[in-house]
């Protein structure tokens, strides 16, 4: 009986520890987003880098900061369970390319913007929602909220929200619609075709 109680106590303690380790704090998440913002600003405002180099650097930064595997799996929703191992590998590879390409192209050429962390609060049991104000040389400032989770490899962004619109939820809805009509293979092919588009050529 005593042995069993000790085991239970150890188990509960371990879970409590694991819970603490798995959750981030508003300070920790703010620092993560603040550091990321500084690195992004430094890259985007560097006069020594070409547009292609800036985009590649932003792509790398985003790749390190977003948990794209987790996001990719989430946005596929219930269809994930019906996909084969090979399809999952293909899908994740293309989803990452799709997201990174979209963001880096849009952000890479943009100079002069400043990011400020304005707020951070707990979101659910494991996450923190960090609010940033992005000021630009022209146009009104933009408020973006970043959902941050502490993963095995450190802090990761698992969603971005602007004007209450969640990137992940929006993408999930669009993917669901494609999967409904064409299946997962149709979605994979759609992603592959989308990333084949050419950008400016020398």
């Amino acid at each position: 009986m005593l042995k069993r109680s000790i085991t239970i106590a150890l188990f509960v303690g371990l879970m409590a520890w694991a819970g603490t380790a798995a959750a981030t704090t508003p300070d920790g998440a703010s620092k993560f987003i603040g550091d990321l913002s500084s690195r992004a600003s430094s890259t985007l405002n560097s006069s020594g880098l070409s547009l292609n180099q800036k985009e590649a650097a932003v792509r790398q930064l985003l790749s390190e900061s977003f948990d794209l595997k987790l996001i990719g799996r989430f946005v596929l929703g219930r269809a994930w369970k019906k996909t084969s191992k090979e399809q999952r590998v293909q899908y994740q590879e293309l989803f990452e390319q799709f997201v990174l390409r979209s963001y880096s192209r849009r952000l890479g050429g943009y100079t002069g913007q400043k990011f400020n962390v304005t707020n951070a609060k707990n979101f659910g049991k494991k996450d923190v929602l960090v609010t940033t104000k992005i000021s630009r040389p022209s146009g009104p400032p933009v408020e973006a909220r970043w959902r941050v989770r502490l993963r095995k490899k450190g802090h990761k962004i698992i969603d971005v929200m602007v004007a209450g619109v969640s990137m992940v939820q929006t993408q999930k809805s669009e993917f669901r619609s494609v999967v409904k009509r064409q299946g997962v293979s149709g979605l994979i092919e759609t992603l592959r075709l989308q990333v084949s588009k050419f950008s400016a050529q020398k």
Binding site: S47, S50, L51, N52, K54, V89, S102, Y103, R105, R106, L107, G109, Y110, T111, Q113, I134, R136, P137, S138, G139, V142, A144, V160, M161, V162, A163, V165, M167, T170, Q171, S173, E174, S177, V178, R181, Q182, G183, S185, G186, E189, T190, R192, L193, Q194, S196, K197, F198, S199, A200, Q201, K202
Partner: protein, 278 residues
């Protein structure tokens, strides 16, 4: 099977308000520069001086320069220094396509396939990809091959798929080489041929494609379609594992258990010296 026929596919990033908001375009009114031309526009574009790029390329585009017309289309498509406009993008790409610009033909193929800026038209999409392919654009060749392979917007036809993917493979597209390897392995669109399969897997592996490195590693270990060579096999599996290929990790561990310390060290050295073929 024709997956997309008559479907109303809507697939866009429109909901990613973050992107649009953060990257809201602003024309940067830069001081006037004389001379210039396409290269001046390119330099300005790479420096993020989109107003200069726009001015230089617009002037050239009006004279019928298809490269400038294509790049202007991209600027409107991506909202670089101008308000994003699919209509304008399509308009400039159509002009560039008339001059035979391959990438313009390819992007028009995509626009027609997804109904972005134009009415969805699969036949037109295929037509644009074929025109770009006939001008040697490997990416269009590969697109056509994959579309025929899964019946995406066209009737599924594995022989056609093999024909187009083979063209792209010969142009050096590593995914196409890998896919041709699989088609030879499985006898899809062509007769099964394990030697040809191994040859194409090896070609893609040499370009650093992890999936192909895993495949050729396994084949070398078995002597399947290629002379058995355990050290080479381990080398490819080490490389595939290093690129994050999960299955390769297990394959690498299984093979390493069967080899001597010397063989393992040799494979490790070979892997360390590997440089992807260009």
């Amino acid at each position: 099977m024709r997956i997309l026929q008559n479907s109303n596919m809507r697939f866009s990033l429109r909901g990613w308000a973050f992107i649009a908001a953060v990257a809201a375009p602003a024309i940067l009114f830069a001081p006037s520069a004389s001379g210039a031309g396409f290269d001046e526009g390119w330099r300005a574009y790479q420096q993020g001086n989109f107003a200069i790029a726009l001015r230089e390329w617009s002037a050239l585009a009006e004279t019928g320069n298809s490269r400038a017309q294509f790049n202007l289309g991209v600027m409107y498509d991506e909202g670089r220094g101008v308000q994003e406009s699919r209509d304008m993008a399509i308009g400039w790409w159509q002009k560039a396509a008339k001059g035979g610009h391959k990438q313009a033909l390819h992007n028009l193929g995509l626009a027609n396939l997804f109904g972005r800026g134009v009415a969805k038209d699969f036949d037109k999409a295929i037509g644009f990809f074929k025109r770009a392919s006939s001008r040697g654009l490997a990416r269009s060749q590969y697109n056509l091959g994959k579309m025929y392979s899964v019946g995406f917007g066209v009737e599924q036809d594995q022989s056609e798929a093999f024909k187009w993917i083979m063209m792209a493979a010969k142009s050096g597209v590593h995914q196409a080489q890998y896919n041709i390897g699989k088609m030879y392995r499985d006898g899809v669109g062509t007769d099964a041929d394990s030697r040809a399969a191994a040859r194409w897997f090896l070609a893609a592996a040499n370009q650093g494609y992890a999936k192909a490195q895993n495949h050729i590693g396994v084949r070398l270990a078995r002597g399947d379609g290629i002379q058995r060579n355990d050290v080479e096999a381990l080398k490819w599996l080490i490389l595939a594992e290093k690129s994050g290929h999960e299955l390769a990790s297990q394959n690498r561990r299984d093979l390493a258990l069967k080899l001597t310390i010397k063989q393992r060290a040799e494979a490790k050295t070979l892997a360390a010296g590997f440089a992807p073929a260009k």
